[in-house]
């Protein structure tokens, strides 16, 4: 029996290898804004939301922390980027980095609050922080424009060369590139020892602590990084749309992204991305058929999805097996 460590190693490392489907997926994704120029705008929106969902996956799927206030970071990144572009420098990439950094710091501070208590506690604490940020943005209307939103954000060209156009192709490609780069980083991280640690914490905190893992430190680290990524998504949103408004902090954003992530499946990186694509497309299509009652059909889809099970929905041939 030559099974040996080499075989076991190969088995464990298999998910971290790139599979052919993934190459095809990303190729299609990047081609989309150019082959479907009329849809570049929604591709942009989906890319941003997918990035946001990816960051939530780190928190929810990989560390098991339930958060209903992830939009706090989305909003903070958006406003930081918008204010930076308006008052300091309209360069997109620099603004992106600044916003990401700022939000990461915020995440670090907030991560102290999620360490104790039950799931419900965390749910409410994260929600409370997001809503407080919303009220803060509303009150500081001399800075943020209050409920009218922060207008007049004129972005410079990306890398000094690509202007944001009306068709949205530059915006979409910009967002997709950022999404892809961050995806690569997160993917690498998740399959590195850090990823294994964090999954161990998610699966059984007590045992993880028992084998010497500093649970609180690790969770804080993941939460902080996830906050930074969410801030990047917010910055992209502000930069590609040219403004920021209060509802970026609202409960709806946090709830929507959680829905998307759960639809796609938590704990595997593509869950957030595919969930975002599925949800946004469904919303768009149903909304153009029935602008007023589309929430009903989305609700129905969610109920059916849960009752029937994600497996059975995606693989109809399994309906008649056990």
């Amino acid at each position: 029996m030559k099974s040996s460590t080499a075989d076991v190693q190969r088995e464990l490392l298999k998910p971290s290898r790139w599979q052919i489907q993934e190459f095809i997926f990303w190729a299609l994704v990047f081609a989309a804004p150019w082959f479907l120029p009329g849809h570049a705008l929604i591709v942009n929106e989906v890319a941003i939301v997918a990035l946001f969902a990816l960051s939530l996956d780190l928190v929810l799927g990989y560390s098991g922390v339930v958060s209903l206030g992830h939009a706090a970071f989305l909003g903070f990144g958006a406003y930081t980027a918008a204010l930076f572009a308006k008052h300091i420098l309209p360069d997109p990439v620099v603004g992106l980095l600044v916003a990401t950094l700022a939000t990461t710091l915020l995440g670090g501070v907030f991560s102290i609050t999620i360490l104790r208590g039950t799931d419900l506690t965390r749910l409410m604490v994260t929600l409370g922080l997001a809503l407080i940020l919303l009220e803060l943005a509303n009150k500081l209307d001399w800075l943020t424009g209050g409920s009218d939103g922060l207008q007049g954000v004129l972005m410079g060209p990306v890398l000094g060369r690509f202007e944001f156009d009306l068709f949205g192709q530059v915006a979409a490609t910009y967002s997709l590139v950022v999404l892809f780069v961050l995806f690569l980083i997160v993917r690498h991280w998740v399959y590195a020892p850090m990823g294994a640690t964090i999954k161990a914490i998610r699966d059984n905190r007590l045992r993880a602590a028992a084998i010497g893992i500093n649970v609180n430190a690790k969770i804080s680290l993941v939460y902080t990084v996830a906050a930074g990524i969410a801030g990047t998504a917010g910055a992209l949103m502000a930069q590609t749309t040219g403004f920021a408004s209060l509802d970026v902090f609202a409960l709806d954003r946090s709830a929507d992204v959680m829905l998307m992530l759960v639809i796609g499946g938590v704990g595997w990186l593509y869950g957030g991305i595919l969930g975002a694509v599925a949800f946004k497309l469904m919303h768009d299509v149903i909304s153009s058929i029935t602008p007023q009652y589309w929430t009903f059909w989305i609700g129905l889809f969610l109920v059916v999805l849960v009752l029937v099970g994600r497996e059975k929905l995606l693989k109809p041939w399994k309906w008649w097996s056990a």
Binding site: G149, Q151, L166, D252, P291
Partner: protein, 387 residues
């Protein structure tokens, strides 16, 4: 068999060719409204009014078929902007319309400017909106118009001390500022200015504060739909018995809800540009037709903004023979006509609406509650621009 098949094929291809040809000749209007969420009633009223106008005036302009594309933006500005962009780029609309709230209109302004598409604001009411883009036309109203009118009327009617209570967002702040400035200018005194948070407004503590301040009147602005809540709390605190009057802009006694408010609304004096009981033949026709087409629903000022917006679009398109862009915009500026609200025109300089503002009181007429107009201020321009 062969012949029949050939015939069918001929007919089919002929009709396809026709629709193909017709598809080239369409005049598309992109109507972006909040159809879901807390402002859904605004969306419903405007959509109904727009459809009514089309039903009454046909769907052909200068040989082109008019297509109304209605989209829900769930009151999220980045969605509004994306939808506006898609309508311009994909559907190639000649005009954007609707816009239920100020941030939604402001977010879409750059699209109008960049693509040279006229944007008709049918609902949003903050003064600064028309300045956000040279392609914006407004057919709704502005809060300063209503606020200043009331600030002129109040001191002449024994109201010297007022507490203002407005919702904490753009139009509310406009309403408060312009009322306060004009009222103090007229010798009145604004004892306190209260702002109620937009989300989950609970008026009880704020109205209690008003009551404790003992003013002659409380001046209220809340967005369309929340008026009933204010009325109820007003009555519950016994404020009318304490001698405090309720005045405000007409959003508080929104026609959409007014009849259901009950006797507590009687006597409330407001200033606004439209009342469903406005006594003119144009309005009677409008109200009747609207009611009939929408199961007895009474049109409110949102509906009138939509109806007049369609009128502006139609007439402008007729003048340009269906062309869009700068020519369409120019044909919209300066239009003068009789609206269900009364006479109105679109100011050629500011592209904003100029109309009469009426002072009205809630009375029971024929068993139903209406805002009865008793004073008219003619041709009120937006004070926000004349500063």
């Amino acid at each position: 068999m062969q012949k029949r098949f050939l015939l069918k094929a001929l007919v089919l291809s002929a009709s396809l060719a026709c629709t193909g040809a017709m598809a080239e000749e369409k005049f598309k209007i992109g109507l972006i409204l909040p159809m879901t969420g807390p402002f859904a009633s605004t969306g419903k009223q405007i959509e109904a009014a727009a459809k009514l106008y089309m039903a009454q005036n046909g769907d052909m302009i200068a040989g082109k078929k008019v297509e109304l594309i209605v989209k829900d933006d769930t009151s999220a500005p980045d969605v509004t902007k994306r939808i506006a962009q898609e309508l311009v780029v994909n559907d190639k609309v000649s005009v954007l319309a609707g816009f239920g709230l100020t941030p939604l209109a402001l977010a879409s302004a750059p699209i109008a400017t960049q693509s040279k598409t006229p944007l008709v604001v049918m609902a949003a009411a903050t003064s600064s909106i028309t300045e956000a883009s040279p392609f914006i036309i407004r057919t709704s109203f502005t809060l300063p118009q209503a606020a200043v009118a009331l600030a002129d009327w109040a001191p002449k009617n024994n109201i010297k001390k007022v507490v203002t209570m407005v919702s904490d967002y753009g139009p509310g702040i406009d309403a408060e500022k312009y009322f306060k400035d004009r009222f103090t200018f007229n010798g009145g005194q604004v004892i306190d200015t209260l702002r109620v948070p937009m989300r989950n407004p609970d008026f009880a503590p704020f109205l209690q504060k008003v009551r404790d301040a003992k003013p002659d009147a409380v001046y209220v602005f809340v967005p369309s739909g929340l008026g009933a809540g204010v009325m109820k709390q007003f009555a519950e605190r016994g404020m009318d018995k304490a001698g405090i009057r309720l005045i405000g802009t007409g959003d508080v006694t929104d026609d959409d809800q007014l009849n259901g408010m009950g006797d507590v609304a009687l006597g409330v004096t407001t200033s606004h540009h439209y009342s469903a009981s406005h006594n003119s033949p144009t309005n009677k026709k409008f109200v009747d037709a609207f009611s009939k087409a929408n199961g007895g629903l009474r049109p409110n000022f949102m509906a009138v903004g939509g109806y007049d917006g369609m009128r502006v679009i139609y007439e402008a398109a007729k003048a340009t023979k269906g062309a869009g862009g700068q020519a369409l915009l120019d044909a919209m500026k300066g239009q003068v006509f009789e609206s269900p609200r009364g006479p109105m025109f679109i100011d050629a300089q500011t592209r904003d609406v100029v109309h009469n503002i009426y002072i009205r009181k809630v009375e029971r007429v024929g068993g139903q509650l209406y805002n009865q107009e008793f004073e008219t201020l003619k041709d009120v321009k937006d004070p926000g621009k004349t500063r």
